[in-house]
Homo-oligomer: 247 residues x 2
């Protein structure tokens, strides 16, 4: 019995997120179908996180405990030959049997893209949120620094989430501009349900003046979901890095 | 009666090229539909070139001779509000009544993108041709220099084309690499049907050894379509610039 770590990349436009669910096409199901087609068995594939419907991944990790003895490079090529064009397998490597793609992850990084122009970019429509009014990215970069550190992010968690411990440590939060493209990058030891999207929604309400500047610390302290901004749409969000402590 | 020059951008994935045709969705038809919805009349919109099914445009120009007296900026906003996400209007300006988007164009530039990696990039699948084997881009850049200058490009014109004069002047031809992305950029006073795609097909057959290096001048001189390479797929091709002499 081996344990294989797969690194994949996917355009999430056509998928209802990672996790298998009835009556919807998901990345996990599509990958398990491809794997079954190649290996003849339906092993469960464990992902590093659930992702929302429409969210993309530059890098996503998952592991498979399997009896199959296919060579790793051969498995990458075979999977890519049968997977649809919007998913690709970048790498396959053998890891210790007790490795778990979700529990052993020590840090993740997300990128949220905002197309900041009154005129949309047809090539970015599925990969960014369009925001038509000017954004003061220096001001926003100062605001997001309040996200860094160890905080109880209950105010930035979708209501109805069953998670008990809402304390997370954010190690990076920055806003950058490249022409009309504004990017929010955030890294943490873990993320609550919809956390990045609520962080972005809050930023955009600060930009529009609906939420006052320099109030992110107060919003965090309130632990009140109502105080934070709306949940920004999923299609601007990319999982960009997944880091493991070992292996 | 005014004459309006529209600059647009489109992701061509869903379209059967620019020109209106029966039973297929085209960019021209979609733009004319949007224009009719806004202005209440169905004026003909004249494009700067036909484009093949699946070809994209960073910049495409077209003109409309019209009785409507809408403000140009207002027209841009209104059109963008009703157009689908994969087409956008960048600019609208009034031009002299005799201006013609096709006949007055003095130069066009195209970019062809090649994803040069054994592993596909899901975000580039619709916007590049995947080529799995190593490409020597320095060698290819030397090869494409033979495309520059004034030549009879009959060997690089789709057979069956009815055009009589196959002489064109290529003012720029270069190959560049940015990581796994290899880009062929070519500018000319005009292009024959499928010319860029045949230029790319020829380059890839030089890369694979099927066509010998340094034979592009011979292929041009032969004026024989059979001597050039295959027609590369349309989805890697972008119209990137359109230049007018005046206006």
């Amino acid at each position: 019995m081996r344990n294989l770590l797969l690194t994949i990349r996917f355009d999430g436009t056509a998928y209802h997120g990672w996790q298998v669910q009835e009556n919807s096409i998901t990345v996990q199901q599509t990958l398990q179908d491809a794997y079954e087609q190649i290996c003849g068995v339906r092993d469960n594939i464990t992902g590093c996180s659930r992702t929302d419907s429409g969210v993309h991944a530059y890098k996503y990790c998952c592991n498979i405990r399997t009896e199959n003895d296919k060579d790793c490079n051969e498995l990458v090529n075979s999977l890519n030959a049968v997977l649809p064009q919007d998913i690709s397998v970048i790498k396959c490597e053998e890891v210790p049997y007790d490795f778990h793609a979700r529990y052993d992850c020590i840090s993740k990084e997300y990128v949220y893209k905002i197309w900041n122009s009154p005129v949309r970019n047809p090539f970015m429509s599925k990969y960014s949120l369009q925001y038509k009014y000017p954004l003061d990215t220096d001001m926003l970069d100062r605001q997001v620094k309040a996200y860094t550190g160890t905080h109880d992010f209950a105010a930035f968690c979708a209501s109805g989430s069953s998670v008990k411990d809402t304390v997370r440590t954010v190690t990076k939060a920055e806003i950058k501009r490249d022409g009309d493209l504004v990017t929010f990058t955030v890294a943490a030891d873990g993320f609550l349900y919809n956390m990045v999207r609520i962080m972005v929604g809050t930023l955009l309400e600060i930009a529009s003046g609906k939420i006052p500047q320099d109030t992110i610390p107060d919003i965090i302290n309130s632990k009140d979901r109502e105080r934070a901004g709306i949940t920004a749409k999923p299609h601007g969000l990319f999982l960009s890095d997944v880091i493991y402590g070992k292996g």
